[in-house]
């Protein structure tokens, strides 16, 4: 055995997240020194998507403000944009769930087509349900792709939804997913590693449940978990570290945030080289086989890690802060991430901010808008009332959503 795949994977993952940004672009402080290019959607077409029979939207690079009554279809539009990246979108929906339901009619497969502006030029993305089943199809510039993971090479979005107001009270899984999505913007391969890790974990759980004692087979599956798991943990550590540095100081109305990942594999990585961690993780998996056979999971591994956020000035865990303070912490992290990505990838992500104004006082809301503008981000922001967005003036573009129709606001 000459190869140490986990070590190689880990170094690759860490390298992609830490590669030094150009000196001119270390925009890690609150000041945003000029505009950085950002990803944006230039053309969006929906077909049989949720409540939309058809919809089209042709925005420019400015923030997109969507207003309309409850149930009009605002969040559905954000969901369509979120499906231009790998995964199940901001509602974590099953592919067929997105099909437009028309009472008494057979479901038509949904489709979203978009032109996005990237740092390397415009790219056409097409995605939708495969008429034959649950698979999500992806086309890039008209060519069918085998895996939706390629979407991460072109586009990245970060979203904040009302459900995430409870992120710091939710299960660790929600926080892990949040952190993982932030990593996609830096390392598109992260998504594939997570899927692979879960697959190996499920295969091992099944094998144990079936009562197998085939040590070679179990070992082969554990080797897959180790290789990917260590790379995943390393990527999360690096991301949390960089975010922690970027959020260490108060930024206007946004509080300073302490950010760390907690987990066994993460701790081992902090104590030694990836190779030692490989041994320790391997030993732990082996030692827990009997127990894991009973629980149907795995007692140790990056699938158990947690993202721990603290309000620095108050020395309080985020979960104990007020609703508005929690939201401010979350926004601080998302903005820091956008800044880091803009500095490093040369193109900040698209932000999807669903009902973001709720729980934010006017000072925080305006500070959020100013930062979005300062970073030149195309943020898609929803609300029921146009007045909420007065601070944008003509620096944003406005659309009205009414009964499954979108049109530029008067």
């Amino acid at each position: 055995m000459t190869a140490h795949p986990a070590d190689l994977e880990t170094r690759l993952a860490a390298a992609r997240i830490t590669s030094a940004p150009p000196a001119s672009a270390t925009g890690l402080t609150a000041e945003t020194g000029g505009r950085v290019p950002a990803l944006s959607v230039r053309r969006l077409r929906l077909n049989a998507f949720r409540n939309y029979s058809q919809a089209s939207l042709d925005p420019d690079r400015r923030p997109v403000v969507l207003t309309g009554a409850n149930g009009a279809g605002k969040t559905n539009l954000l969901e369509a944009v979120s499906l231009l990246t790998p995964g199940r979108g901001l509602r974590r929906a099953k592919t067929s769930e997105v099909d437009r339901i028309v009472p008494g009619a057979a479901p038509t497969p949904w489709a979203v087509a978009a032109t996005i502006d990237t740092d390397t030029g415009p790219v056409e993305i097409g995605t939708g349900r495969d008429p034959e089943g649950e698979r999500r199809m992806v086309r890039i510039d008209g060519n069918p792709e085998k895996s939706q993971a390629v979407l991460g090479e072109y586009f990245s979005v970060v979203w904040l939804t009302p459900q995430m107001d409870r992120l710091f009270q939710d299960s660790a899984g929600e926080r892990r997913r949040f952190l993982d999505r932030l990593i996609y913007g830096f390392d598109p391969a992260h998504a594939g590693r997570l899927t692979g890790y879960d697959k190996a974990l499920r295969q091992r759980a099944r094998l144990l449940k079936d009562g197998s004692r085939d040590a070679a087979w179990l070992g082969a599956l554990e080797a897959q978990m180790i290789e990917r798991g260590i790379a995943i943990a390393a990527a999360r550590r690096v991301m949390a570290d960089r975010l922690a540095r970027a959020c260490a100081r108060e930024d206007g109305p946004f509080p300073g945030a302490g950010i760390a990942v907690e987990g066994d594999v993460e701790t081992w990585l902090g104590e030694g080289a990836a190779l030692d961690t490989e041994d320790r993780f391997g030993a732990a998996l082996q030692a827990n086989r009997a127990r894991d056979a009973e629980t149907g999971g795995a007692a140790v591994g990056p699938h158990r890690a947690d993202l721990v956020v603290t309000h620095l000035a108050k020395e309080l865990p985020a979960g104990q802060c007020s609703t508005g303070e929690q939201k401010a912490l979350l926004i601080a992290i998302v903005l820091a991430h956008a800044r880091l990505q803009a500095a490093e990838r040369g193109a900040g992500p698209v932000l999807l901010l669903d009902e973001v104004a709720a729980h934010l006082d006017e000072a925080r809301r305006d500070a959020l808008f100013e930062t979005v503008l300062g970073l030149g981000l195309q943020a898609w922001i929803t609300g029921t009332d146009r007045v909420t967005f007065g601070a944008f003036g003509d620096r944003a573009q406005y659309f009205e959503v009414e009964a499954a129709q979108v049109r530029p606001a008067a």
Binding site: T2, S147, K199, A200, A220
Partner: protein, 196 residues
């Protein structure tokens, strides 16, 4: 029409075809009864009658011991292990590999109930014993989790034989399936294989 429904159901089981495409295919077959449907039916019957699985390597041919295993000009010291016959064909198309093959017939998957005894692994071990000419086994399973797990497992099982084991080098994209690679990528991956 029972006959048509049955045909649709059978075709829909083929990879890449669902009920919708199967129905389209059946309509096309009926429309071109003489020029397509009957020749296809004959070709199917003939293939079903003549095609054998090679008991040595798992390849498909009209004779057991397939043409590749019989070919005396091929290198007897190297065996390339693949998941499916389709992968063998893909590698043959590149013309780079001049040894012999071993088709596992799938990958290990506890979820799908496929264990080592369901794969053609025992036959592989029998081909690398001390009084066999084989010096190198090249594992060319797909770079999916199951493919890699299987490669890892086979490596482990081959260890006592002392045979040299190598893996396709990674010009192959992660999660990639050999079947889908272009010949150039596959040829490069084969030439730059790595010892495991």
């Amino acid at each position: 029409m029972q006959e048509i429904e049955r045909l649709v159901q059978l075709l829909a089981r083929l990879p890449g075809l669902g009920p919708r495409s199967a129905r389209r295919a059946v309509l096309m077959l009926i429309k071109r009864k003489e020029s397509l449907m009957q020749p296809l039916a004959m070709a199917l019957a003939e293939a079903a009658d003549k095609i054998r699985t090679c008991t040595t390597c798992g390849n498909l041919d009209t004779s057991d011991t397939c043409a590749i295993c019989r070919d005396p000009t091929r290198d007897q010291t190297a065996i390339c292990v693949v998941e499916q016959v389709g992968d063998l064909w893909a590698l043959e198309r590149t013309g780079v590999f001049r040894g012999r093959y071993h088709v596992l017939g799938g990958v290990l998957s506890a979820i799908d109930g496929v264990g080592p005894e369901d794969l053609n692994i025992a036959a592989l071990l029998a081909r690398v014993g001390p009084d066999h000419p084989v010096q190198e086994v090249i594992l060319a399973t797909n770079l999916t989790v199951d493919g890699q797990t299987t490669a890892h497992y086979v490596t482990e099982r081959l260890e006592p034989s002392g045979v040299k084991v190598s893996r396709l080098a990674h010009g192959v994209p992660v999660g990639g399936e050999l079947d889908y690679l272009d010949d150039g990528t596959l040829a490069t991956a084969l030439k730059s294989r790595q010892l495991v």
